[in-house]
Symmetry: D2
Subunit: 320 residues, 4 copies
């Protein structure tokens, strides 16, 4: 690792100007201060947030002020540690938790347990954590579960639900490529949401009752409408996909009189759930490998963003 | 009780024609069949459903086919029992549970424990059960709670929340008469929802955080909007009031990113909760007496319906 | 089915005298009264309770007054129905729930869904229900679980835990034959409890932490001692095995200071859990077939009891 | 505060030698390092642990190596802050959390909210936290609760249970002085545990059912035996009192077949519960004042320890 610390510069994929696009730049390698850790990246996956910044849509342009370096789904090896760092040491492979809420350095706490895993899987810590949080707000063991929306978080949810003992796992999306990935992740049923029989098919698969739980990962109004129609009386819907605008909901008929519970899921982690996911990963019962559809050298980053735009990709991983 | 059974006819308040109004009629006293119980009414309170039938609004005219007898919030004394009835005996004071889901005759199970209570309170079993169900889907002990809507169920909720150890009980309504009743039921703060400072006042009362739980009892869109604004990040809203039409909800900003849980509450009972309410009633920590604002002889039923229309009543009880 | 109803007598395995043993007798075929159902048995499995009665130990001799007919783990086909029976009809295959708590005829409610299952599995409804109840008092999805005691209920628990998404399933017993069945039911690790390294092995398999949950199915003091040693700090133990006498427990060091939860599990069913097990059975994720080690004609009943005495059997099924 | 920081020495009650007793000594006032806070004590209450050290019993002599300064139930005013301290400032009144589990400085987080409370109540943070943790592992709103053992933590539990909406609060102890304090804290029933009718009285007060929850705060074998007898079928017992030796428990009859849940409660805090207690304190619904039976100048510390030995004290507070 000495040579890494000695290196003067490193590459970074950056948003340098307030317009569409990104740029590969050279940056100084920093020296870690007290309590800080210098990581040498080994894998970074492209998040939807990165894509928003790349395409510079309204949301991105309102929130972000260039220049910024892209990338927060990361696996790295500890290259140097500042004073006071005791939980990780040089050479440890760690994932990164970007929602830092206090000084406990959560990413470091979990660090050592990653050794031996594919770094691309380690980089997936954030979407896996989101999926786990959405799935586990209530037990899913022995329940029937539908996942609406098969982006990377939705696909992780399919695998988590399967590993966590769901009796039936249904996935819906409008993109056949993604539905195929859902099948590879263990969905018993992968349904094209544009098909007018979708709700009927879910009801049929559950003896007419509907599913016990829906994990809404699409942020699409029609998906929520379907979810409310095929969730069982007394069931629950976890809402994680971000809807671009307010949604009209028939609260009386579809929520209140059917005793439905709606959970707003925000990205912060519940460590207990995260530890259980680690246990499932280690045991081999949950394997996100099929989601990792593409790996490119960092220099080929633009191909990765184009693939995401085409919706013909699971997760795109960049190898520095 | 012999005389009761011997009586040939009884009075009944009935909806006889598909138009506004109601009528006091004479009916034959029935003989209880196997597993059935004949009750001699001692108190009946007017439910919102009764008022819908009386005023014959769209909802009522679509659901109900006259002739029907009004009234389902009832306290009665067992006057005769059919064969096979073992859980109650003549002379027992019982409340009635109108949502019969199986043969277990839930109303009778609870029957004996009512002896000694004011029959008007026994008649309140249904709205109290609704309030309990809405309140107890999550613990409220030590939490701050707001009740939006101070009809009889909302007023019961104020008292239940207070008795169940809420650290702060806020009530909102647009009718000062009802806010005064909320204060009598134990609200720490009773706020006119039309006041533009309402949300601000709730936030101030909770150190800026907002309340841990909202019990939505109004079915009014503006009340839900306020609830979403003054519920704390990570809090929950129980939805019981029926909204007359679909509601537009900003799911992303107000529900998902704030980690809110929405519970559709439908009227079925959780016996565990009901038994706890009985315990609170018996201990005197929950006392619905202030809600019972008016008692009339059955012959004066029309005054009761007029009072409800004026919104200057809590619960109106008719004494047969 | 007509011929069945027409039959005058039927065979029954009965405890006729207050001494060890049992006897195959002839009994009149009864006529079902109002609300009753006549079942023609197709499979009956021998329960531990039956074995207690057969061997006439202290427990049995204090509780039971002969003559009684043995057997309560039953699958049967509805042969005739009394008046008022609407939920099942002639020809339905049903399992039997012997803990009747009210008039809702729980066994019949579940009846129709058994059609198509192996009747021997239907007869297992009771031990499966026990296993489910013990397992699901807290979530087990993604948790590490140990089952101490691999009799039929313990073996069901192994399969349920595996199907319900446990990240690790450990089984312990003192009988190698049973440990082999545990492996067939999906245990990741099946350990001879007599081995002095047993606790060490469980700790090693969990990175030194111990298991999140123990399902105690043996009723053996040394098994509980091991359970308290290999359950993780903050973990839980479900107690279902009946201990023949009071047990000395180091509450302070092993329970209080380690934050352990102990759940006494009694046999009544939680229908929600039962329905989830049905769903797991239907989906094929839980398959109790390996537990059904022996099937005999009813006439050979004594061989079944001898096998149970030898502890070289899973579940013994008698076919009338 | 300048003068405080300027002071060269301060008094401290210390255990200086491995034998019974304690000693008031002079110590240098330290200078807070990075992330540290210097507190000027305003109140300190004597904990059972302090008494163990004072009397130098087996437990104390095995765990502690003199010299050590006594006292960990503390309220103090921030007198100086080290570099990097941002959450508190000079003049803030704070309580102290002695179970430090990470770097998040939990004691400081809660600091500001104490302003305005009696410092003696602030010093009670630890026993109140223990009581809350034991009480709130399951909801107690609307439940009947018994507290066995009326030392300071038990007395806090009585008040917490009362404030949190328990429908009935029973307290047991063997010391009439403490039972009187339990009544002042809101117990509906305070029973001398030596009375042979104690179990009978608790059953009578609950209509024969027994209490829904027991909070075991005594660490006395006979109290646990009574608890198992008067807890209702399906109820729960929180175990917090430390038993000096292993206890023989009839698991089969008293725990398993009655479906009882036993929770080992260890002292770590659940911040959610702690925040709810703060809310109850602020609202005035929980007021621990009656527990604070004695206040002495620090110089009179020995009288405090003698009072605790006599069991004729609630909490003894020393004012530096």
């Amino acid at each position: 690792m000495t040579t890494t610390v000695g290196a003067r510069t490193m590459r970074a994929l950056a948003k340098t100007r307030p317009e569409p696009g990104a740029e590969l730049i050279e940056r100084q390698v920093p020296t870690p201060g007290p309590g800080e850790v210098l990581l040498k990246m080994v894998a970074a996956s492209i998040c939807g947030t990165d894509y928003h910044l790349y395409s510079w849509d309204t949301w991105a342009s309102e929130i972000v002020k260039p220049p910024v370096v892209l990338g927060h789904e990361l696996a790295g090896v500890v290259a140097a540690t500042g004073s006071g760092v005791t939980r990780v040491k040089e050479g440890d492979l760690v994932g990164v938790e970007s929602h830092i809420v206090d000084w406990t350095c959560a990413q470091c706490r979990a660090g050592n347990m990653h050794n031996g895993l594919d770094p691309a899987i380690v980089a997936l810590q954030e979407p896996m954590g989101n999926a786990v949080h959405a799935a586990f707000v209530e037990p899913i063991e022995g329940r029937s579960v539908a996942i609406t929306g098969c982006g990377p978080i939705g696909l992780c949810s399919v695998g988590i639900a399967r590993a966590a003992g769901a009796s039936l796992v249904v996935a819906t999306d409008t993109e056949p490529y993604r539905l195929q990935l859902a099948r590879e992740m263990g969905a018993d049923l992968a349904l094209d949401a544009r098909n007018p029989d979708t709700v009927r098919s879910v009801l049929d698969a559950t003896g007419g009752d509907g599913v016990d739980a829906v994990l809404e990962m699409s942020g699409a109004g029609p998906a929520l409408t379907q979810a409310l129609e095929f969730v069982t009386r007394g069931g629950r819907i976890s809402l994680l996909g971000i809807f671009p605008e307010p949604v009209s909901v028939d609260l009386s008929d579809m929520v209140i009189q059917r005793g439905i519970r709606l959970y707003g899921i925000y990205g912060r982690r519940i460590y207990d759930s995260w530890e259980r996911t680690q246990a499932l990963l280690r045991s081999g019962r949950f394997d996100p490998t099929p989601i990792l559809t593409h790996r490119f050298d960092l220099a080929d980053w633009e191909r990765g963003f184009e693939l995401i735009a085409s919706r013909h990709a699971g997760k795109v991983v960049l190898i520095p």
